[in-house]
């Protein structure tokens, strides 16, 4: 059964002073299965946040429908199984983190007994265990993001919907959030999140939906991503001699030399053994062997054509640097 099903959803907005409406979603459809992490990728203004708001019932679709665990979202009881982290969250600044999490827990139907213990637990998970008594108005952007994640996972929901969960986090914070998401996936939770940080999405997601101009233009699975690489393997070695290069030349597709190191791309998996054997036979050292695959960034850029650099900027960039006499 699908945990989340978005079926042919469309949405348009009317401007404040205009009678003309602008359609921002055109028949968006996708689904997320049990225990899956689905990434939602798209440029700014593509319709990611609008889709998330429709899923959560904050906006009404003009057409189509959304089901969570097989129930329409008009049945609000289903939301007790959903955790949500908004983009650029703003919480109640007058509350301490403990009061805020307690409030969120009660809103999700948690009561008395286990709630204080659970608050301590999630605060420790997001690295805010020492801040429970501090008011949220004194929190930095990164701490607010962590508090947001804490409230999203507080009631142990089956489905997590995260809008830009890595936004505002430092590298350590990013790693921490990534680890939490990996842990949640291991525990069978279903996660649907939007992000601009492609490497994180590539590491975390089973599938990625790419949205552009309110339309789903492509859905890429992790397996598909790996297959797209065509089976090429990257070999990095140090101290290869000319004789060694002569022996491996027929097996490799490309060769890039940088100082003592050489970066080789071997086109077919079956030739890798030969390349490694020849390098090992010489006095050279193998530093790294890795399977090459097409990155999500390549696919994203291919689907969402980046805007052309304006002519003025291009001419400035191409202008030679003046030489002082």
């Amino acid at each position: 059964m699908d945990v989340l099903r978005v079926e042919d959803v469309s949405k348009s907005f009317r401007g404040d002073m205009s009678f003309r409406s602008r359609e921002v979603l055109h028949g968006v459809s996708f689904s997320v299965g049990v225990g899956e992490i689905l990434g939602f990728l798209g440029p700014n203004g593509a319709g990611k946040t609008t889709t998330i708001k429709i899923i959560l019932g904050l906006l009404r679709p003009d057409g189509g429908h959304v089901e969570i665990f097989g129930n329409l979202i008009s049945d609000r009881s289903v939301m007790s199984h959903v955790g949500f982290l908004p983009e650029t969250p703003y919480f109640f600044p007058h509350l301490s983190l403990r009061e805020f999490l307690s409030f969120c827990g009660r809103m999700s139907g948690m009561h008395g007994g286990p709630l204080p213990g659970r608050i301590e637990q999630v605060a420790a998970m997001v690295g805010l265990q020492g801040r429970l008594g501090q008011r949220l108005k004194g929190f930095s952007k990164g701490m607010i993001q962590r508090a947001g994640l804490a409230q999203a996972i507080l009631h142990d929901p089956e489905l997590l919907i995260l809008d830009e969960p890595f936004s505002g986090l430092d590298p350590l914070g990013r790693i921490m959030v990534r680890d939490i998401l990996v842990d949640l996936r291991a525990r069978g939770k279903t996660i649907f999140f939007s992000s601009h940080i492609l490497p994180d999405m590539e590491v975390l997601c089973n599938r990625t939906c790419i949205i552009r101009d309110g339309r789903i233009v492509r859905t890429v699975s992790l397996d598909e991503l790996i297959r797209m690489g065509g089976g090429a393997v990257e070999v990095t070695a140090r101290g290869c001699s000319e004789t060694c290069f002569e022996k491996i030349d027929r097996y490799i597709e490309s060769k890039t030399i940088s100082g003592e190191e050489v970066f080789l791309v071997v086109g077919e998996q079956r030739n890798v053994r030969e390349v490694i054997r020849h390098i090992s036979a010489s006095d050279a050292e193998i530093i790294r062997v890795a399977s090459q695959h097409l990155s999500l960034e390549n696919i994203f850029l291919n689907e969402v054509k980046p805007p052309a650099i304006p002519e003025v900027m291009r001419s400035n960039r191409e202008k030679p640097t003046p030489v002082r006499s």
């Binding site: 609000r76 703003y90 809103m107």
Partner: protein, 255 residues
Amino acid sequence: MTKVYSIALNTFRESIRQKLLCVSLVFGGIFLASTYVLSPLAVGAREKIMTDVGLAAISILGVLTAVLVGSTLVHKEVEKRAVFMVLTRPVPRYQYLLGKFAGIVAAIVLMITVMAGLMAATVALGRGFLRPAMFAAVYLSTLEVAVICAVVIFFSTFTTPILTSFFTLCLFAAGSLSNDLRVFAEKFGGSFMKIAMEVFYYILPNLRVFNLRHEAVHDLHFSISDLFMATVYAAAYCSVLLFFAHLVFRRREFS
């Protein structure tokens, strides 16, 4: 009910931690203290002056604080999207409105209680008597403020804080004068004016029923049944306003 209570508690905390409520309370305290200092000038009417000014201060400051606190609370939560923390959970929207209403009323009741205590202390210090009518008047002021809070919640579901404050204060003025306007129209107005005033009289909140200041100041008799009817009237008026607020809010989108 647990969720309504939690929302109300959160709103109450937010209200009492705002500077506005403290400023109102300090201002009210200064006002009441000034009646103690200045009332000896009214020879023989010291107690009446202190009671009259004290009750007026409680009523006016209560209404003004309700308007200023209430008009910003809901709007700010919607504008800053803190409302998502409630509406994306299994909480019906009417419970959110009920919680907000209860929280704001609770904060204003706390303020009125403190001011009533100060007023009672001022009267006692001036060697006056604390009469039951005085407390009945404070109770009715509390009901009046509850009605004003419901008006504020209703307007804040669809308009900005400035317009909410403006509409509510207009309604407060009209509600305080609706009886007089009706009598005026009956005596001097044409048939259209009479009908219009009759309609306004029944639509607008009749805030005169919450005014017991005259009885409290002059130590006149008041009936318990009047208090009971005023309570029922306030409850009914608040319920209707919150119902209409719910009708607006349940259709509202949060873009």
